[in-house]
Symmetry: C2
Subunit: 331 residues, 2 copies
DNA sequence: CTCAGATGTGCATACGTATGCGATATACTA
DNA sequence: TAGTATATCGCATACGTATGCACATCTGAG
């Protein structure tokens, strides 16, 4: 039914191993033989089976990208650069979207025979990294890291961005500043909150408890948090959001509440998604080089796969404030 | 190094095939043996190798989803339902994002040993369907279809939605109606354009050539097209866009041009993406049940895989107009 | 003319699992 | 008690490719 290397071998008058070697351009074979094999392969429409290859070689050249919540606008933007970087280095991307982070997911990743995994939605208490480590399956943290299991990582350093944001806010007279952060079990949420608090502290400002909301990195979190903040007797004049998607929710809540942005309240995001700079949105946000970060994560993982004994590396990417229309002076 | 079924067999004091059967709950084995094997497997942390399983059984239970351009807001929304539907039927989703549609892509799909493929970004002249058919690899068209190769498909019927849009426009006094459609080599672009033209014809309206733009289903197409339309000596009072993403671009162009929506021009999209109903956007658009369509595509493909001889089926999903804020009366 | 070295190819086997079929033991029937 | 059916499991092998090693052929030097 399906054409195998044996069929090609028969047609070319060589052995099956010779077909294998010829198509992978083994230097020990003569040019004439290679050519003959190639011709035969093409004539039969032969396509090597990755499954056979994987079983025999013990490597699949496939790398998993573990995500939750692809509907979140953030994640799709890491797929294309990851795909390209991996392809350019001879690996294939295999996307796994799982809503949970548990033993089943870990088993699934292991059973697929991946050469490595990029973890993009780890929580600090994820179980997946533990299982992968036990199994000896290489992985890299992207964006978020986990506690307990050390590994290579590519992350954002929110410090500079938050310092610039704090300064920009203070310069415009803001003192009542609120934060709608991500889930408390993610490293990104914690890092950003800490960076913001430290930056504000330099200006003698702190964020009181009733100005703090936390939740998943989605629009609902931004919407609900903003709705509640705007109802306070003394609402904040600025809201810093855990990421752009949260900020979009905040913009929506402000619109529904009839509150002008940035006239009545300023809103700042994080990630600088393409959507943020749409003319109908023009969100002020904190930017970093997402593509470079993705490529770095891919490279770190491949390095780990090919040279397992190197020390772990943490690649940190700087951030900066991008001022568009949702930042104004305090009323 | 890695635990195999043989290791489990040795520990449980049975043969390797017995391990295979026990873990897949073969009714021929005694409950006692199964239990003993399960215990041993757990103790060793055994995870069956998909690679070995695939080679032996000839099936991977993996289904590919072929996409281009994941950065387009539309595509991420089909991944989650596809994933869930396939998992519920014992298959795994493997995402393939390719920028092109060519022989290389087809070979890649074939070599991966997939059991089937969902084609979500076919053009009418795609080569992939040809190769898959030649290879006997089952596939289903999602959303877009291709000419030449017949197969199962799940698509939108734009007729009702376009009729409702035409009526809504005419009722509001619109006569100068423009269209920014998708690429001329996609079935969706053609279907929608045709449906719109027919619907308008019922009201005695036609779309003149200078009111028509075409391009990829992205924001740039909507932006550029709208920019040009608004510059015309007699600009249209309404613009119907090939999909929501194009419409977002149109909204952006109107904003930059200082043109009020819907005061000066009405804009209508297609797809009803979550973003379309954001309070800061509130795009009037044509909706359909995207999730159901995805699930149907998955089911059709699985049916094709498991019962290859059934006649091809075309699942068509109705559409309807959702009126929000970007539709107004003609000025 | 012989032999070391280089070059090119085949043989045997391994990878991990699934499955047809046969073997053994047990239960049941007449 | 013999024979048949049933339950339970192992043996042998297949799946498609890669790779260590042996073998054969050829080249060129001494």
């Amino acid at each position: 039914m399906v054409v195998t290397s044996r069929d090609v071998a028969k047609l070319a008058g060589v052995s099956q191993p010779t077909v294998s070697r010829a198509l992978r351009d083994d230097p020990r074979l003569s040019a004439a033989t290679k050519e003959r094999v190639r011709k035969s392969a093409e004539r039969l429409g032969y396509v090597p089976s990755d499954v056979g290859r994987a079983l025999s070689s013990g490597r699949t050249r496939r790398i998993g990208l573990l995500l939750t919540d692809l509907e979140n606008q953030f994640y799709p933007h890491i797929i294309a650069p990851a795909h390209h970087q991996l392809e350019s280095r001879g690996y294939h991307l295999m996307l796994h979207t799982e809503s949970a982070d548990n033993e089943v997911v870990a088993e699934r990743l292991i059973s697929h025979g991946l050469d490595g995994v990029i973890l993009a939605t780890s929580t600090i208490d994820s179980v997946v990294p533990l299982r992968l480590r036990d199994r000896g399956l290489p992985f890299v943290y992207f964006n978020r890291t986990s506690l307990g299991v050390h590994a290579d990582s590519a992350v954002v350093d929110p410090t500079q961005g938050m310092e610039q944001a704090a300064e920009a806010l203070v310069d415009r007279g803001h003192r009542r500043i609120a934060g709608i952060f991500g889930p408390a079990n993610t490293s990104t949420a914690l890092d950003r909150e800490l960076a913001l608090r430290e930056a504000l502290a330099h200006h003698g400002i702190s964020i009181p408890g009733h100005y703090v909301h936390r939740g998943p990195f989605d629009t609902a979190t931004g919407y609900d948090g903003t709705q509640q903040l705007l109802r306070l007797p003394e609402p904040p004049t600025a809201i810093l959001c855990g990421n752009d998607v949260v900020a979009f929710g905040a913009l929506n809540a402000a619109r529904v509440a009839g509150v002008d942005v940035p006239g009545d309240v300023s809103i700042i995001g994080f990630d600088n998604l393409p959507t943020a700079s749409w003319p109908i949105i023009r969100l002020t946000t904190i930017a970093y080089d997402l593509d470079a970060m993705v490529r770095r994560a891919a490279d770190l993982l491949i390095q780990r796969i090919e040279k397992p004994d190197l020390p772990f590396e943490k690649a940190s990417f700087p951030s900066r404030l991008v001022v568009l229309d949702t930042l104004g002076t305090a009323s």
